[in-house]
Symmetry: C2
């Protein structure tokens, strides 16, 4: 190896170079996954600037062997990472990886074709439209989201991209009728449990931030929206001369895993001609199991649906499925037609026929990766049965944990578990509900101590003033055993924390 | 292998599963790159729907061995791909791949961490800020775009994302002063050579499409903008009560590789307080060579700069560097602060200090991949010297081709070559410039025949009514030999096409 001699022409795609560099990474990754359970889950060294100080100020002048680079990854980078693929990662939502996901991504990155228009790699564009149809069928989505049903899907990088695209489509539909000045009167609706991505997206497409409505939810509806609450908010805005544009319904909210009743609020939104987006970023994966498909009831009232295979569907980053009922709306808002794209084949390719999709007009960017082959490899490698088994073992593990929490009088379950997310806390010690400050303090300490142990990583949420600990089960290598161990860990640390707090309280008396 | 038994728990991250699935892909890719030159460069079978017909309507119920899947890739997918990594791919712009790029992406996808906030993987966030600083130094960007100079950079997926983010930042700055209703008065300026991504981006962020100004360029300025033309357009809009918001300056336009004079038009834009974005998506890579850095003269007048390592910098898809002079402007437009992100470490992480960047506030999406490690591996593996050699061999090959075209009286060079893109055509046969219909017809036939041969793939552009053929040199494995061969091919096919056209003309007389 050694540094590349300057007088030797580089052969960056030489099969031997590919084999050599890639093999070094494969060996590294095999070692990483053998050891990942030994790392503290959350980055142990949290000093800002630590990694920056370790690295030189400028890029090297000469090339280096891959082995040197990987030594630096081991020494400088790994200790500063939070290990999202640890089986003890229960924070945020899972971000799955798998051998098939890595393999599929290697194929995508290795072939490195760019299916931005159909003609630029027909098989890649068609594989994408096939794979999103497969996904829609697996989740039991209504026919209107299949290409054969007049709709269709696209693979994007994130929910936020999907939200921006659908918001732009809804907005341009409204502005087409009302004129551009009406942009200041358009209103977007979400709940106080909806992901912040919708607020960000609405602002990005030019909706005034003051026209983003956050509708309050409560324990009574399991923190889901109700038709009454939506109606009240919309009626108020209509009375003010504003224009209801877009409603987000979430199946499986980020904080608590709550579910908005899609049919109920969808009907309400329809009455006002609003665009309804169904966000099932995390929980959508569960719909591969028939026992979870009821949560998508009413999906035929939605104009668009999205879910992220990169969360709980064994798909390495990144991959978001977006389906729309009327592709034309999306394309009207997002298409461009410059001369340098009017190339051989683009004309004869029959754009407009369902078989020849120019996906650049279904997304924000012109450029795009061949994500379809990744998702296709995963579905082929594991099959629908394998994916259902993957989902069900996590749901079962979460259920086990929820039962333990409910059975331990020191703890309480704060919101109903619907999928694989359990929201719990140490219960108020006085038995009253109104000593939240104290209870929150104890729970904050509990979570901090668990995370500091390095043996698990969880994150929190706040609802009705309560600090809630979230156990999000779903890591690709997380099994029941890991959930059992985290329950042991929680009990042990809870005992210490409760003891410490009791001592402080006694001393304060 | 065989299908996964349902009663056996899946181990999707088992080191043996990773090794097995990945090795199959590595073997496949080694074979692919050994053979890539044998495939027709452009997909041979252009029948829409061909691939869709080959694939089943639904995902398989049971998993399959990777070998079966790869057999299907060989049989059903490869013949329908355009081979962007063929050394004979001269279309659009190059989209580089390399052994180090694949290795870096494998690391990124294999570790699969999500540095959306600093605390979610500190080393990943810090490596990103180090790597964008390295890149800025390599390209000789002004200090104001370095973190140490008060600015900073981020890795995104595409120029369009970078454009949307900077447009949103500029827009929100203006609306903060003028009120939201003023959105209908904001104007964005570009040239008739600017990438369509700016028009799409401006529309996405809510600028009225009628407020996107396309300023005409001409051969006299090498198809670059002039300060006079910008001034005239801006003065007209100011006179109408509109608000000049944003100007795009391009170094290396998509159609012709033209260069806008950044200093000249930057000064003009500054006079009106406009945001100036410098788009060097393709040609920015050349600035790693000192002899090309002059094209970036005036960059200190820009508010933001972007370039795409995934084009000509040996970086597999996707990677776009965006630098801004005032991160605060970007963060103001793009930040969100929901409770579920206020997690352990996020508070103590010292957000706001340059060392602890929450990159979710520097981009459209919340989620993000660990792209930094890919670019870092590439810079380490090849070194600055290696990258300069990579750029220079393509520039030399393009120069060689340009000289041949200029020396052959049947051909002409249509626009000056600045980097590695040569724009040429068969010259008007009458010697007059005004028989463009005939000349365009001949050139269309020439390009179609070259592409149909499968031995090269080029695309076209139209400027001043002329149909121009573009030879974009820059493929990772493209060497002088391939450019020589495409010149031979062009000469041979040109002789046939010219003969055929002469015969038709004679028959028509």
């Amino acid at each position: 190896m050694g540094s590349l001699p300057l007088d030797l022409p580089m052969k960056p795609l030489d099969p031997h170079a590919i084999a050599g560099d890639s093999q070094a990474i494969l060996d590294f990754l095999a070692e990483y996954y053998r050891d990942v359970d030994k790392f503290p889950v959350r980055a142990a060294d949290m000093e800002p600037g630590r990694v920056r100080k370790l690295l030189p100020e400028a890029a090297p002048e000469h090339g280096e062997p891959m082995e040197h680079i990987l030594e630096d990854v081991r020494r400088d980078i790994l200790p500063g990472l939070t290990h999202w693929q640890s089986p003890r990662f229960f924070a945020f939502f899972p971000m799955n990886a798998s051998s098939a996901g890595l393999a599929g991504e290697m194929l995508s990155v290795g072939l490195n074709v760019v299916p931005f228009v159909w003609a630029a790699s027909p098989a890649a564009a068609e594989l994408e439209s096939v794979v999103v149809d497969w996904m829609a069928r697996l989740f039991g989505l209504p026919r209107r989201f299949l290409f054969s049903g007049g709709g269709g899907g696209v693979l994007q990088g994130s929910t936020c991209e999907a939200v921006v695209c659908t918001l732009a489509a809804a907005r341009d539909g409204a502005l087409g009728r009302l004129g551009h000045e009406a942009i200041a009167r358009l209103v977007v609706y979400a709940s106080d449990q909806t992901h912040a991505t919708f607020q960000k997206g609405a602002r990005l497409v030019g909706i005034p931030p003051s026209n983003f409505r956050v509708i309050k939810t409560s324990a009574a509806s399991g923190y889901g929206l109700t038709a009454e609450a939506v109606r009240a908010a919309v009626d108020r805005d209509v009375g003010l001369g504003l224009v209801p544009l877009y409603l987000c319904a979430t199946v499986g909210t980020t904080g608590l895993g709550a579910v908005d009743p899609v049919r109920e609020i969808g009907e309400e939104a329809r009455r006002h001609g609003m665009w309804v987006h169904l966000d099932a970023a995390y929980a959508g994966s569960a719909a591969i199991c028939p026992e979870f498909q009821d949560y998508l009831d009413g999906a035929e009232l939605a104009d668009s649906v999205s879910m992220n295979p990169h969360k709980w569907f064994l798909t390495n980053m990144d991959c978001c499925c977006l389906w729309v009922a009327r592709p034309r709306d999306l394309i009207s808002a997002l298409s461009t037609d410059p001369e340098y794209l009017k190339n051989v084949g683009a004309e004869d390719g029959g754009a407009g026929t369902p078989a020849a999709v120019d996906y650049k007009d279904w997304q924000i960017s012109m450029t795009r990766r061949f994500r379809a082959i990744k998702l296709w490899v995963i579905l082929r490698r594991y099959g629908a049965a394998g994916m259902r088994a993957h989902i069900r073992r996590h749901v079962a593990a979460a259920k086990w944990f929820e039962q333990r929490v409910a059975a331990d009088e020191r703890f309480e379950v704060v919101a109903p578990r619907r999928f694989s997310l359990v929201c719990f806390r140490l219960a108020p010690r006085s038995g009253r509900d109104d000593d939240d400050d104290d209870t929150n303090h104890v729970n904050r300490d509990l979570l901090a101590a668990v995370n500091a142990s390095g043996r698990a990583f969880m994150t929190h949420f706040v609802v009705d003033g309560k600090f809630v600990i979230r156990l999000a089960v779903g890591g690709a290598s997380t099994e029941l055993q890991h959930v059992m161990e985290v329950w042991d860990l929680l009990q042990a640390i809870a005992a210490e924390v409760l003891h410490r707090h009791s001592t402080i309280q006694r001393n304060e008396l």
